[in-house]
Amino acid sequence: MKNSVLLGALTVAGLAAGAAAAGTLDDVKARGTLNCGVTTGLVGFAAPDANGVWEGFDVGVCRAVAAAVLGDPMAVEFVPTTGQTRFTALASGEIDFLARNTTWTFSRDVDLKFEFTGVNYYDGQGFMVPRDLGVSSAKDLDGATVCIQTGTTTELNLADFFRSNNISYEPVPIETNAEAQQQYLAGACDVYTTDASGLAATRATFEAPGDHVLLPEIISKEPLGPLVRHGDNEWADVTRWTLNALITAEELGVTSANIAELSAGTNNPEINRLLGTEGELGAMLGLEADWAKNAIMAGGNYGELFEKNIGENTPIGLARGLNAMWTEGGLIYSPPFR
């Protein structure tokens, strides 16, 4: 919590690092590790397991980038950030890459000088309430106490939603998801609101998940994606195309199971270009020819990452929904590898 003050002050001094970060790709290669900003803990997206190894859907993106750049998915230094500290950490150069359920918005892209390099989860803001409260719609929440993570887009959407529906609420600002969970379970707030995926992930960790319901209203668009600093186009390209490689791999049927076989060469030229047996896509990015192969092998393609961390067979149990491939009626779509 005090971090953000420190970071704020350090931005002044630490901007030197920002200026030196013009070549983030070279910095990461020279350092041998990727500094990746993640949440302080949201099961399924980014949380350390019992052995202290970070895992999750956002962590998978970090590992894929590390594998693409350094050839080693474990060469990642995870930096936990809160809703408030994340942008300062990225702007000051403390992290190279932020993969932390961050919503792509106009002002963050344009005014805060960040570069979103894709969307790895299409989300929307929802509400969770205890079942015995008997609430069936967010419009019934007049006068409710709402736990909300500060410094997020959800905070602004919440204000807009209650304002436009002409009902009142009492916001309880909190810093991290863990804190929100504790406050919500203690009954210090009636409602917890954040991205619907985050609510599902949080509810999955409850002792009695069935006692809590997600209200039907989704009150915003929250395209969540990784981002880097503005102005370093080479680095932005590396991270953008790593995510695209994971998506394309699912589309082309390249999985961590068959990748060894496919990387020997296939009849499909796009698979060959993706896996580096044809063309020079890797060299164009300033990476090895097998960069995308390494990225996919790190945790599987996009669909595998989804199923393993947050999919329907996990406790979090999110359906693909909007996050299905474009070929299956979803929004997940990668530009072609050529």
Partner: protein
């Protein structure tokens, strides 16, 4: 015979700047000055360069933009459509509120504990030692979080107060202690003379202060009469009337009445809601700083020579009057200077509010506003300026008081 010769003409050599004690101190100061200026220049220049490298500019225009977020505790009118500047003011007022409440409670606790720690009663003095050492040696943040956790985890939820719930309001069904805070009856003005409740309260305070001034004049006059005639006129009924009548009349005029909180929907409505975050921060700051003030008070009392209390005892003064009339007034001269720094500490420590989600200036201007607008440098500078100004004000006012309590020597 003696001849007067001119003293050898002082020819200034460059080496004198270092070896001659007359010049050395100036040389060192000049060099230090140059280094400081260079350092400042480097910092500012570096910042400007790096800001432009990041494509950012330096401007305070964001303060006039709509803030977009809500604040739960606001002493002035504020909605999510208000500007970031207004959000900052709301935060500043919240900081001032908790600092003010904290300083008062910490002083009361400190004076009590400081005096009791010198008590001859072994149990009392040991208990006070435990309190002082316990609070001085554990970080403030832990106390804030601990008190907040106790409030949140162990108190009933508002819906437990509904009919059939297992919690009940106390003090004649007027106060509800919940895990969201304490709801107490509040005074509302049916027909306020001024627009905002805050202004009405200020009006009441102004009238009250004016009455106190008049009461002082009455007392002075009684003193003068007593000195000239030897008989003190009875003035207590005048004083009482002066205290009650004007304020009471004003409150009546504004239609003031008590509003008792009651449960409606999800929460209690009406009354005053003292949020957990405010209570936790207030109590923790007061207990923590109170421990330091207790030590200051103790040292101040110990600084007064024993002869003073012996002389008072010889006059037949009871111990409590000795303390109030003889020891403490003298001890104040020792106590006030370090007390000023404790007030400053408390005020600055209130920025730990972020730990419990109390919306002080650090949480509004220095937190959400910075985060939503990306204006770290401007926000932090404004916040630093505010804390600087506040600290200087507190220390200035307290120093005026200090000068007035100092021994006047002629």
């Amino acid at each position: 015979m003696t001849t007067l010769t001119d003293p050898p003409k002082a020819s200034f050599r460059l080496s004198q700047l270092i070896y001659d004690t007359r010049y050395r101190s100036i040389t060192i100061q000049v060099i230090a000055m140059i280094l400081v200026v260079l350092g400042l220049y480097w910092l500012v220049n570096n910042t400007i360069q790096n800001l432009s490298a990041l494509g950012k500019d330096f401007n305070f225009g964001f303060l006039t933009q709509p803030a977009g977020y809500d604040i739960n505790q606001r002493l002035i009118e504020y909605t999510s459509q208000s500007t970031h500047f207004r959000a900052a003011i709301v935060g500043i007022l919240n900081t001032l509120l908790v600092a003010f409440l904290g300083c008062i409670l910490a002083t009361i606790i400190g004076v009590f504990v400081g005096v009791l720690r010198l008590s001859k009663n072994w149990v009392v003095s040991r208990l006070m030692s435990v309190y002082v050492e316990g609070f001085r040696n554990v970080p403030l943040l832990l106390w804030i979080i601990a008190i907040f956790a106790i409030m949140t985890e162990s108190m009933p939820q508002p819906r437990d107060f509904k009919v059939g719930g297992d919690a009940a309001m106390i003090l004649g069904d007027s106060v509800a202690v919940t895990n969201r805070g304490v709801y107490v009856p509040g005074v509302v003005f049916e027909n306020g003379l001024l627009g905002a409740p805050l202004l009405n309260w200020l009006l009441v305070a102004a009238v009250l202060i004016a009455s106190l001034f008049v009461i002082r004049i009455v007392r002075r006059r009684a003193d003068a009469t007593q000195e000239s005639t030897g008989i003190r006129p009875t003035t207590w009924y005048q004083q009482l009337a002066l205290l009650i009548v004007p304020t009471g009349a004003l409150l009546f005029l504004m239609g003031a009445h008590l509003q008792i909180p009651y449960i409606k929907g999800f929460n209690f409505t009406d009354g005053v809601h003292l949020r957990n975050s405010l209570i936790a921060l207030w109590i923790a700051l007061s207990l923590y700083t109170g421990a330091f003030i207790a030590e200051i008070v103790r040292s101040g009392i110990l600084a007064i020579s024993k002869g003073q209390s012996e002389a008072a005892a010889a006059l037949g003064l009871r111990p409590s009057r000795t303390m109030n009339l003889v020891i403490l007034p003298q001890a104040m001269r020792v106590i006030i200077p370090p007390l000023i720094s404790q007030y400053l500490n408390l005020t600055k420590n209130s920025s730990l509010a972020i730990a419990v989600g109390y919306m002080d200036v650090r949480a509004t201007l220095g937190g959400i506003t910075i985060n939503q607008t990306g204006r770290e440098l401007e926000g932090i500078l404004l916040m630093a300026a505010f804390y600087l100004l506040l600290s200087l004000t507190i220390s200035g006012v307290m120093n005026v008081y200090n000068n007035r309590t100092q021994l006047q020597e002629r």
